[in-house]
């Protein structure tokens, strides 16, 4: 099917905006769209979201006979699929010219730059080698497939684990994952593509063009580069001439962008590895809530607080000054306040025991406090309550979540724990940030 034609109105406007150093999606000239790397349940499956562009890469491996001229090297095949699902402009069946071009850039960038060691894929020289295949499927085309595909391919290759193989004489055994842990491919470096779009015969350039920018650009340049600032691919297309300085400038921008992207990939890989090791849920299916059919995942949205703020200030004005404090507060030590007389100790522990232990030192009293929590309130056991948390929280006493812990220290021992100014002073810095964090969480929940 033919794509929706682009009107002169849109074309002129986009060009005019670019000449004014503006982009229609509000980005700056060198900004990437939001990049997200997520992994599937299986090893070697990776989805890359670049704004609305979505690319999936799946790596698989099988054992084959090597090429005659390279008997000790395994093979790496990269295949880029442009299905009509991504864009109505893509026809099913034979790949188009641009499809072949992009596939070739991917191959040059990853295979020909020797990013993955092929000699380590050899099992028996001249007979059996691993053949690794990376299938890159474009799921949605909103511009700059090239960068998304190159990120997906190299991330999937580093995420992939092939089954371990052992050779005993003539016999080759492929071990199952239960038998022996699968081994990762040896990835020497991570080359990533950065696409530049040029307008007005190379006078203006943009990083990461989106679909509409791609349609009005004069030409583009793809720079494939790795962390060590080694250029692995350089491809220019479109009928325009570039000055030498422009090319050099692009390569300098590419070094910065590549460093950022690779850091992001590395972080995603580490996070996934940790999740897998801890036995937590992993894979992109986990990140999408499935219990509702009408909702998709939404970003946190801002809430209009102007009305609420007005109301709040009104309430404060109407309330007037407070006549006297709620109850008689007694300052025991700097930072701690005693409210009321306190109640009789209802715990199983004797008062005398407590007192004697209290004298022995701070650590003991802390552990005692924890035990007491466990014995008196079994429902609270789930929450790791530290004795110190109680002492501080009763000082502020406003957080409803802390109420139960406040109760614990309203007994006789409360005064004792507050009588040790050293211990409370020590406790405070570690605890002072905890309630703040909780409040933060609450706010997030409210936003949702």
């Amino acid at each position: 099917m033919k794509e929706v034609p682009m009107s002169t109105c849109e074309r002129e406007f986009i060009l005019k905006a670019i000449r004014d150093r503006k982009r229609i999606d509000g980005r700056q000239t060198y900004d990437y769209r939001r990049l997200k790397v997520s992994f599937g349940m299986e090893r070697g499956c990776c989805i890359v979201d670049l704004g609305d562009t979505k690319v999936l890469a799946q790596v698989s491996g099988k054992i084959e006979e090597p090429k005659k001229n390279r008997p000790t090297e395994g093979s790496i095949i990269i295949n880029l699929e442009l299905s009509p699902m991504a864009s109505p402009a893509f026809e099913p069946g034979r790949p188009t010219e641009s499809g072949i071009e992009m596939n070739r850039i991917l191959e040059r960038n990853i295979r020909d730059s020797r990013a993955v060691d092929t000699e380590s894929l050899c099992i028996v020289a001249g007979e059996k080698v691993w053949s690794i295949r990376a299938d890159v499927h474009v799921l949605n085309d909103e511009g700059n497939i090239m960068d998304a595909a190159s990120i997906a391919a190299i991330t999937a290759l580093s995420h992939f684990r092939r089954p371990d193989v052992s050779v005993m004489g003539e016999e080759v055994t492929v071990h199952s994952p239960e038998d022996r842990d699968p081994v990762p491919l040896s990835v020497h470096h991570m080359p990533v593509c950065v696409t530049f779009a040029f307008f007005d015969q190379g006078e203006f350039l943009l990083v990461d063009p989106n679909r509409s920018e791609e349609r009005v650009m004069d030409g583009r340049m793809v720079v494939g580069m790795n962390m060590h600032r080694e250029i692995c691919t350089l491809m220019m297309s479109g009928g325009m001439l570039l000055v030498k300085e422009q090319v050099l400038r692009c390569s300098q921008i590419a070094t910065v962008k590549v460093a950022e992207i690779i850091e992001l990939i590395q972080r995603a890989l580490d996070k996934d590895a940790q999740a897998r090791q801890a036995g937590e849920k992993c894979g992109f299916a986990e990140s999408v809530p499935t219990n509702k059919i009408t909702t998709n995942r939404k970003e946190a949205t801002a809430i209009d607080t102007t009305a609420a703020a007005q109301q709040a200030s009104q309430v404060i004005q109407e309330a007037g000054p407070v006549d006297k404090p709620m109850s008689n507060m007694l300052v025991q030590a700097p930072g701690t306040v005693q409210i009321g007389e306190g109640l009789v100790n209802t715990w199983d522990v004797d008062d005398e025991d407590m007192e004697s232990e209290e004298k022995e030192g701070r650590e003991k009293s802390v552990t005692n406090g924890r035990e007491a929590v466990a014995t008196s309130k079994p429902t609270e056991r789930k929450r790791p309550v530290k004795a110190g948390e109680g002492t501080v929280s009763h000082a502020e006493g406003s957080d409803s979540e802390e109420e139960e812990t406040v109760m614990l220290f309203q007994g006789d021992d409360e005064t004792k724990s507050t009588e040790e100014p050293d211990s409370t002073a020590l406790m405070q810095p570690s605890n002072s940030d905890k309630p703040a964090k909780k409040k933060g969480k609450k706010k997030k929940a409210a936003q949702k």
Partner: protein
């Protein structure tokens, strides 16, 4: 299924027990509903809507335009052939627009329309078996707002059909609220195309993005979003 009004229905659902109206016993089925023998089937996934006295239809997220007679659309001129222009309106077929269907056009005096131009037009013929036909004049022969949209400084956004219906509904105050703060011109086509033009390209971008991102927002959220945009515009 009077109960499921306002709820999500999916294709294949069978609806029954339509609310009886005082005036008539008939029920009118709108988009997304079809009668199969004795049953009424749902053919689109979305929210079932009802309007007094007896109209039922389904609100759904869709981008493919299905021409309906009398609707205003924005088209892109793709081909000039003989005495008609072929215009892309986002439907399965291109629409035709006669060069005589402009204000003041005669056989001698042809309108100045080029390939790639945007036209704001009304659907004269919309039939599932025929090519849709557009006109840029009303029945009195006056342009009344229709015609070629000038290409100087405006921008067009492609959105879903749902958003267009939402913007045009009197309950939605995005255009009113936005227009109070940033003056702009706009043309809204029922085929999911919205053309906007403000004083500067920057303002145009802001207006276009504000409209495009307001699909799943309530009026209060829209106001917040616009306020934030304006704060950014004025450099806070």
């Amino acid at each position: 299924m009077a109960d499921s009004v306002g709820k999500v229905v999916i294709p294949g659902d069978i609806l029954s027990e339509f609310r009886a109206s005082e005036k008539t016993s008939k029920v009118a089925l709108g988009p997304g509903l079809r009668q199969e023998g004795e049953e009424v089937l749902v053919t689109k996934g979305g929210i079932l809507r009802h309007k007094e006295p007896n109209l039922y239809w389904i609100d759904c997220h869709q981008r493919r335009y299905i021409p309906a007679k009398g609707e205003d659309v924005i088209g892109i001129v793709t081909v000039k052939s003989g005495d008609v222009y072929r215009v892309d309106i986002g439907a399965t077929q291109p629409a035709t627009l006669s060069y005589l269907a402009f204000e003041g056009a005669t056989k001698r005096n042809r309108p100045n329309v080029k390939v790639g131009d945007l036209v704001f037009a009304k659907l004269l013929v919309a039939n599932k078996d025929m090519e849709p036909e557009l006109v840029c004049i009303d029945s009195g022969g006056h342009s009344s707002g229709y015609g070629v949209i000038p290409a100087d400084g405006g921008f067009m956004v492609h959105t879903s059909l749902n958003l267009v219906r939402k913007i045009l509904s009197p309950n939605c105050d995005i255009l009113k609220f936005l227009g109070k703060n940033v003056p702009f011109e706009t043309a809204v086509g029922m085929n999911g195309r919205i053309w906007v033009k403000a004083k500067t390209p920057k303002d145009t971008i802001v207006v276009a993005n504000a409209i495009a991102s307001s699909e799943h927002m309530t009026n209060a959220q829209i106001r917040t979003m616009i306020r934030q945009l304006l704060d950014k515009l004025s450099g806070f």
